[in-house]
Subunit: 304 residues, 2 copies
């Protein structure tokens, strides 16, 4: 069976959406547990303005104090050149850039058109010209926009091309508000991999409308092997209060493990980390496996 | 695209698991809304001992007072001959029999071996010899047992054969405690439809471990067109407190509608019924769509 790569985004995408600041030491402990569990990549934080996202105001401290494992890539989201400068002082392995495919969503998010955003990426690439750093380009709202609705596939392909022309090696297609259907995922993934068969392509799904794991399954059928996921299923979107967030890492790894996929991630350690995460929060996480147990967790017939 | 048949089990599988008795008039109103929304089948109730399941003690009254639509099949679960006698006095369209593929689960559930259960089905069939009634045979724990673990496919096939030899027309494979993986669903569904290409086969999934809609998607790829689902995602299993229950009807219909499948069910009316159901309960239902909205429910960029 195929090797699948598990990329953890809870420390950034998950925690930035919480209504409480998770103390820095607890963030570090959480990330270290994820490293120990053998995830392939951790998005550690975002080097964004602390005023914009107070939950991630400890970006430098977290990035510097985590214990790094050799087989794990430690990534950080960088919204602009200021963020890149901050991240480079912390020796991150990978910088993750983000633009929305939807003009309206991008304008709301960063008050720039997508073309203006790519102009700013050009400045970042110039700044990094002599640096040995891995770069990933993310495309938000790749499967639909909560303002514009449908997103033309052609625009997704054109923005991938823009990223690749800048010299960026990996691409992430993000379903920012959980609008992707399995059929759409299969079609867009197939289309992208037909254009760029060797592209390290990540899909980033939300489970907002319950389709998260179905979307993963269809993406794998189309040839995708890299998935972002958030421990406990944290994350979410302001338009869907109470709905599920990002796809849940332990639920994802559970499904894939019992389908025979090869991963570097240990499910039991991941469940341990998810229970630790739950202990830090005042609400129930959306993930199912820490409530239901693994399908191999059998019960005694005499106990019921 | 294929026509998919939506079969509602909330009034039986959902409500029997609730910690409150839903008043009879509200059950009837709920079922009438489901009929109006155009589901293909409603499992209205179970003619089980009121002592065993007090929540369904009003089986006769509900069955007799609902408004019947010509294109909807009104079904009832019958655990034994006594239940069949009660159901036949209420003019149900279909009787649904149930046996677990797992011996241990069946013993726990009805204190009989599967062979003994099929002996009792033979008595039921003799009793019904001159009646014009549709019969469905359900196989619980078809994809795994919380006591025994793996369930051999051969045993599932043998019990389907047992049902068909009795003269039962439709078969339901139930994933009683949410243990099925998409790969397993594809394999077993393909196997069953290879043996009996014209069998009206229903799959009954739970979303206990988050794989519910992924399992539906794989079942459809294998040729299955009939699915049980529970409004709001009610239902559940005693081994997974706090986890999701049956797959959620409005989430299922939402996914399939936006993938272009043909159904008789109106998504907006179904969402209306789900909101009504939510108003009857004291806890939040697991379904996502009534929280997140449809993927076509767009937002104004100026409001955010």
């Amino acid at each position: 069976m195929k090797r699948i790569f598990i990329q953890e985004v809870v420390a950034r995408d998950g925690l930035q959406n919480e209504n409480q600041f998770i103390p820095t030491d607890q963030k570090i402990a959480l990330i270290n547990q994820l490293s120990d569990a053998g995830v392939d990549k951790v998005e550690v934080t975002s080097f964004v303005s602390p005023k914009a996202i107070p939950n991630l105001s400890d970006a430098e401290e977290v990035m510097k104090k985590i214990t790094r494992k050799p087989n794990v890539t430690y990534s950080a989201l960088v919204p602009n050149l200021r963020g890149v400068e901050r991240a480079m002082k912390c020796a991150v392995d990978e910088l993750n850039l983000l633009v929305s495919v939807s003009e309206t969503h991008n304008l709301k998010n960063v008050r720039r058109t997508t073309d203006q955003t790519f102009d700013s990426f050009k400045e970042i690439m110039d700044f990094l010209a002599n640096e040995d750093i891995q770069l990933n380009g993310s495309l938000g709202t790749s499967f639909g926009c909560p303002f514009e609705g449908d997103i033309p596939e052609d625009k997704v392909l054109r923005l991938i091309d823009n990223y690749l022309e800048l010299g960026i090696s990996g691409i992430t297609l993000a379903d920012t508000t959980g609008m992707a259907t399995p059929a759409q995922v299969y079609q867009l993934s197939t289309n992208v991999l037909n254009h760029w068969p060797d592209l390290p392509l990540t899909l980033h799904f939300h489970n907002t409308r319950g389709m998260g794991l179905a979307n993963v399954h269809e993406a794998i059928r189309a040839g995708v092997t890299r998935f972002d996921a958030s421990l406990g299923g944290l994350g979410g979107c302001p338009f869907a209060p109470g709905a599920s967030g990002n796809i849940c890492t332990e639920d994802l790894v559970h499904m894939l493990a019992f389908m025979g996929y090869e991963m570097n991630t240990d499910l039991d350690q991941l469940i341990g980390a998810a229970n630790y995460l739950q202990s830090l929060l005042t609400h129930e996480v959306p993930g199912q496996i820490i409530k239901a147990g693994k399908i191999t967790d059998l019960h005694s017939a005499s106990q019921v």
